[in-house]
Symmetry: C2
Subunit: 873 residues, 2 copies
């Protein structure tokens, strides 16, 4: 073990070592190799983090010795010494895992300052104010991040100092004020932590390393990883890097830049900077920064150098980069580069542009789009006509595109709770912080009073695809009073506001929103995807409207039409209830006769939209009791309405009650018991198809038998289908198929038998998951979150297919099906059909198609193409 | 097709052709081959029946031509002609499938009689009365069985005739009365059927053949096959046999005999006969017959011949035979032989005796016992002390052993309905008929006023293992008034009676019953079985009493102890509710602390009974809401009792409510969420084991984690077990194992993963069936009977393992488990563990053990041995 290398100098690594050095460390090494101006430093590997947790929070043997050694090398290289009274080395300590987690991990700057070395800085810089300001910043950050003392304690002291002095900005504090502040800060630490701020620089470093590794498993980080589905990482690395200072006066500055516009994708250098500031000032959104192009005016040489670096990095990484830079007394340093986060619209534009520029190929372009995020493009925007009539009450930065309407929530917790109760809320905050993440998820939109395009709120909202207006400084927010004011206007929790994340406008009240149109770049990507993908993508739709939407999104047919949804409307429900309450078959048939014309028209509507494309119609699935009222009042009313004895009605409802309706009298079981129900539906399907034909529409109905667990059940329903088909003489006139859902585990297990009889199969993965895992979707909330938190399931199996369990059953089913019926069409129509990892799984096990809700159709198309590309690799 | 042989003379077949000729036909052929006095005839094969139904009730080509040909051969052999005016051939037409179905299929006797041939009989027999009596009997039977005219119509005419004549018995009617009766019968037929009784004898034969084949699928036959689980038969054969007559006067007679006593198994010729009667008279129980040994007094030669045939047949068939014989004017004929039905006690005695006699080997002896019927031996008998104090109100024949207590039901339908409502009923009938079969199943006991030991009631009751007293002629029964009278005593539907099926005594009221002891013969069979079987047999038991019973029945440990049953008693339920209602972990722990001593004592009790044998303890399984009240009143009461806010209690109950509790928050999910619950149970198990050890008892606890679907769930609970084990320092003191139930389909699918972690597995086939098939046991009643009726499932999958589906999952699970963990103990503990076909399946797929309720332990032991023997073959 002692021979193992745990610490790498920046000149020892490269970008291929992301797993070990973290994204930040690997890129620092890569940039060092490229000859860019990188402040030297070293990286403690992610493996150390992994072993740290595996060994009960003990470091592997020799790791800290290697830190000492690298530190010594760094001191030699910089010709400075940590904690030195003459010319001290100051370093930053930053986390950096293999995947970027902005704001999630802790950072310490200016490390190495103490009562002695602060004098060294003064000597070297001849800038006493700078030195003391650096020192007090360091103590504040160290106290907060490393020693866990609330930020507010330091802020309070800072406010006091400003008050005493009678000034408004930190920058107005002078040396003596800062010296006093240092002492107050030390006192804060002593009182809050029960021990002194450590004067020993090596101890500072050690404590900081400990804190970074410790923060890997803090709740914020865990939540972020869960929400972003980041799994399988070893841990974080720790980067120790020589400090450079953007706050050494007017020839210094710091900034964040993207090689292209992360919001629109435009191929134009994009970023922000602050003169005389440290990097944290930009990201935290406390001062509102300047656009990057203005740097050309104040520091043209540095700007030119930065633009050159921009070009070099983008060519080198063949992707849009997110840079951090600092200018120290006219000297430019790059502190970080990474693939930049972007809106999906930007991702699409960049991918298409870069493909055209010859930077990447089509496969890469396709892989650049996160299918989950495609959603963003499909989201609503404000109705431009309605908007014209409105005056916005304020304007902020267009931080994340889209539109959002909701009532105001002033805390993340409120947002979460009110969303759970079904309210649409807009989270309104002075600025957001990582603690707010769940509330941000819950909110329809986010509005902040402070912070720029790269502020926490903006970055996170874009990642989530949530509409966000940031830095809207016209508004004042009182979290305590739950009040937001803009001029004379005061709004509270019960007030609605509307955000336009694309323009940054904020409106009072609710403004109508309209559906999105897709860009030409998106169309290009989707075309490339369509060329590559092998899976067909259909949609789950029960109405012509949904079918229409889905078709526009590229659906190649309907993969699931749930006929029961059609049973609930208006007059129909009456006939359905008559059918259920009928004494005998004759009575049922009479009621069903009334339903037939409705059903027929429903199907005609779908056939018309899907002209020539297959429409899978599932026969009635839910248990009959779902169609009867449950509340006392409603029962009474129904009895009156139908002139039906109330006691008898109650008895009937009682009779139909089930302990486990999920496993009850539903699906094809209804048809086995009451064939007349299915017969009506089948007749409606065929009649609709025949009439469509007369109207010049080519209907391609696929009749799907639900909840089959046993071949013989299917055959019984098939018999009805054959009978009706013969009766209506559809042979030769309509091309139809008969198949089944695979949702009962037994069906998957006996697929070899079932496969001999059916013409298509469709996995109903919702039910299949319920029965295979023994989870009732309606009840599993009681423990399923816990299960995902504890890692029993990597992801909620109702969101992403549980590949190890349910997926194995699917695989078995497909394999044994293909054995006896090679050409059978197999698809999936559960919620999973539009979830990227599930789509990829479906491709891998050899399905022919997926079906999902209309808005997920583009996601599925893209995911299906990515599956092919990944398989090639 | 025309070349196919559809009809066999009795001298063309043998007993090996049962599938084709049916049991009766094959045995008639075999006996013909043996040279026994068999009236000649021929058999139409079961294949004809099969093709008849397959071809929409049309006979295969050539089949009826072959009947004509065989009929011609028969006429030539007998030198008589069907329908002849001089010396007519009379035949019987009987059904006969490969498996015996007594009373289920229809029979026609005296076929060939018509207005012409009746004269031929008179000429030949010079017995005018006999001829006319035969003719009227034939018309009656033909009208009833073949033409479907209600029996009562003929009975009415017969009663009228006797009234007119002023006599009591049929035998007192004279020639002229009978002639008139023939005319009345013909009129009955004309009026009821709208056509004449057919005078053409060949037409009579054809109609009878049609009727026999037609009866194969009558509801009675279908019900019988379903109840007796008879599947896979082609159909019935039809036997056409020359008539012989037991009713030709005092030198004629007819009887039914068993080569050994079918009730006790005693090796003594056993049977009954009637002088001057046809066979139907004996079976129908209308006249009470004489014991067979009396025949020696009246017809010593025939008796001697019969005894010789008895010996010959038993040696030949190496099994107890059930014979029908007829003596026609001093000439003995054997009409049928078959393996005789017997009580299980008799089966056991015969098997052991025959093995000792060298007639059969041990394997055969074991196979002779129907495991399902072993139940009979284990059933209750009347408490002899209590019986002494009672005077029986009547005595009948001890037709089927055992004891039964219940209220009187006067119709089969009543019996069925009242049983469904949970009542124990005794079915009291003048005599039973095949229509009564479902009611007989439902009844605890059966009492008939007429009929002998071979009457329908007696035969069927013995087959079912239901206690039966038959031919109790002291009682009078009025079905209409729902009244039964014995002397002055009148009893109605609300009165209790008690039957002793072993003595034939009938008692008023309820007499205590006691558990059975097993005979030495049974012990011998079980010992042989134990020597052979490979499966261990354990029991499902939650109390020391059940464990004790099971151990006496040979249980080799406890295969399933359901700890939740222990949660309901007395004070415990209070603590359980406290635990559920506790605000936090601390509160739960306090409540659990109260439960611990109870649980510990429970386990000590089981360990004591099972000293040195393993006891599988399943951790808490049901959802918590099962422990809370549901009714308004009870909720109020509980709130008061516990001093708990009622509204909060309702809220809690509401929170715990589940839509599909079967798939809800239960099993190990409870332990993952509230580890303290399992921790208490585990502590109780280990403490009980340690204390037992101190008391000289060797406890072998197996801790079982329920409802595992994912290896990680198991590991989480395992962690608790390990922790408690360490805490109590059980290592080296107690030998325990940790394992899981396999009841979630996902567990079966991912068994390879789970197998690496567990030390034993036990299939919970109840839940596994629910989830694999998607059937809620509580709800499936709505369609499952229909499913079995329609043949979708051969048998109720909750009674016998669905081998094709659930069984396949089990097989997969076992195979992949053995791949990674060869020595793991795998068992089954669902209801199926005591069901013979399921036990055999468990043996076949390589399980190590089955566990079942105490009374099913001997069944399982026997079934396990039979599985080995059948596998050898």
């Amino acid at each position: 073990m002692t021979g193992k290398k745990y610490v790498y100098s920046f000149d020892e690594g490269d970008k291929g070592m992301k797993e070990l050095l973290g994204g930040k460390g690997a890129n620092l090494a890569e940039m060092t190799k490229l000859g860019l101006p990188i402040p030297p430093g070293f990286t403690i590997t992610t493996e150390v983090c992994d072993l740290f947790y595996k060994n009960g929070k003990k470091y592997p043997e020799g790791a800290m010795d290697q830190v000492d050694e690298k530190l010594k090398q760094l001191e030699e290289k910089m010709e400075k010494k940590l904690g030195d009274a003459e010319d001290p080395l100051l370093v930053s300590v930053r986390s950096g895992a293999a995947e970027s987690m902005p704001g999630m991990m802790d950072t310490v700057l200016n490390l190495g300052l103490n009562d002695v070395s602060v004098q060294g800085i003064i000597k070297k810089t001849e800038n006493e104010r700078f030195a003391w300001d650096a020192y007090r910043r360091f103590i504040q950050m160290f106290g907060d991040v490393v020693m866990g003392i609330e930020h507010a304690n330091f802020e309070e002291e800072l406010e006091k100092a400003k008050e005493t002095k009678g000034v408004k900005f930190d920058t107005e504090l002078e040396v003596e004020d800062l010296k006093k502040l240092v002492e107050s800060y030390k006192k804060v630490i002593r009182e809050a932590a029960g021990k002194d701020f450590p004067q020993d620089a090596r101890e500072q470093l050690q404590m900081s390393i400990d804190a970074v590794f410790g923060s890997w498993n803090n709740p914020r980080a865990i939540t972020y990883r869960r929400l972003n589905e980041i799994t399988g990482l070893l841990g974080t690395a720790v980067n120790v890097q020589t400090m450079v200072f953007g706050n050494k006066g007017d020839t210094s500055g710091t900034g964040v830049a993207f090689t292209r516009n992360p919001s629109t994708g435009e191929n134009k250098f994009y970023g922000e900077y602050l003169i005389n500031a440290q990097g944290e000032d930009v990201v935290a959104g406390i001062r509102t920064p300047q656009p990057i192009e203005k740097l050309n005016e104040v520091m043209p040489d540095n700007y030119k150098a930065l633009v050159e670096i921009r070009d070099k990095l983008e060519k080198h990484y063949t992707d849009m980069q997110d840079l951090e830079f600092t200018i120290e007394e006219g000297e430019l340093y790059i502190l970080q580069t990474r693939n930049g986060k972007r809106t999906t619209a930007a991702a699409v534009k960049m991918a298409v542009d870069m493909e055209k520029e010859g930077l990447i190929d089509q496969d890469t372009a396709i892989l650049r789009i996160d299918p989950k995020a495609v959603d963003q493009l499909l989201h609503k925007r404000l109705d431009p006509v309605a908007v014209k009539e409105q005056n916005s009450i304020a304007k902020g930065l267009p931080a994340s595109p889209g539109a959002a309407v909701g009532k105001i929530a002033f805390t993340a917790e409120d947002a979460r709770l009110r969303k759970e109760e079904g309210e649409d809320v807009i989270l309104v905050r002075v600025e957001t912080s990582p603690e707010d993440i769940e509330g941000m998820h819950a909110a329809s939109g986010i509005l902040t009073a402070r912070g720029g395009m790269t502020s926490h709120a903006a970055v996170v909202a874009r990642g989530m695809g949530t509409c966000c207006v940031a830095g809207c400084d016209a508004i004042t927010i009182s979290e305590k009073e739950k009040k937001m004011t803009v001029g004379d206007l005061a709004l509270g929790e019960d007030d609605w506001i509307t955000l336009d994340g694309t323009t940054g406008e904020v409106y009072e009240g609710q403004i109508p929103v309209i559906d999105p149109e897709l860009s030409g770049d998106f169309a290009a990507i989707m075309e490339w995807a369509d060329d590559i993908r092998k899976l067909k993508v259909k949609t789950n739709a029960d109405t012509p409207h949904d079918a229409e939407v889905a078709k526009k999104f590229g659906a190649e047919g309907i993969g699931l039409c749930r006929t029961e949804h059609m049973f609930f409307e208006g007059e129909r429900i009456k006939a359905v209830r008559e059918m259920i309450l009928a004494k005998d078959e004759e009575g049922r048939k009479a009621a069903l006769d009334k339903l037939l014309p409705y059903q027929k028209d429903d199907f005609k509507g779908l056939f018309k939209v899907m002209d020539k494309l297959p429409v899978i119609v599932r026969l009635l699935d839910p248990p009959l009791h779902e169609f009867l009222p449950k509340e006392d009042k409603d029962i009474k009313e129904l009895a009156d309405d139908m002139n039906f004895d109330e006691a008898k009605l109650r008895q009937k409802i009682e009779d139909l009650h089930e302990f486990n309706p999920m496993l009850g009298f539903r699906g094809c079981r209804l048809g086995v018991r009451y064939p007349e129900i299915n017969e009506m539906q089948i007749r409606a399907i065929f009649k609709a198809a025949l009439e469509s034909k007369d109207e010049g529409i080519e209907a391609v109905p696929y009749i799907e038998v639900p909840l089959v667990g046993n071949k013989k059940e299917f055959l019984m329903i098939k018999e009805i289908i054959d009978k009706v088909a013969e009766e209506l003489a559809v042979e030769g006139k309509i091309s139809y198929k008969v198949g089944t859902m695979i949702e009962v585990p037994r069906a998957a297990v006996t697929a070899e038998e079932i496969a001999k009889e059916v013409e298509f199969m469709s996995f109903g993965t919702n039910d299949l998951t319920q029965m295979s895992c023994g989870f009732s979707r309606d009840d599993a909330g009681k423990f399923l979150n816990l299960y995902v938190e504890k890692g029993i399931y990597e992801r909620d199996p109702f969101q992403a297919i549980d590949q190890e369990g349910v997926g194995k059953l699917m695989q078995m089913c497909v394999d044994s099906t293909r054995k006896v019926n090679k050409d059978i069409e197999i698809g999936i129509c559960g919620e999973h059909g539009g979830e990227p990892s599930s789509v990829e799984f479906c491709h891998r096990i050899g399905l022919n198609e997926v079906s999902c809700s209309p808005f997920r159709v583009p996601i599925a198309r893209l995911a299906a193409a990515q599956a092919v590309i990944r398989e090639k690799k």
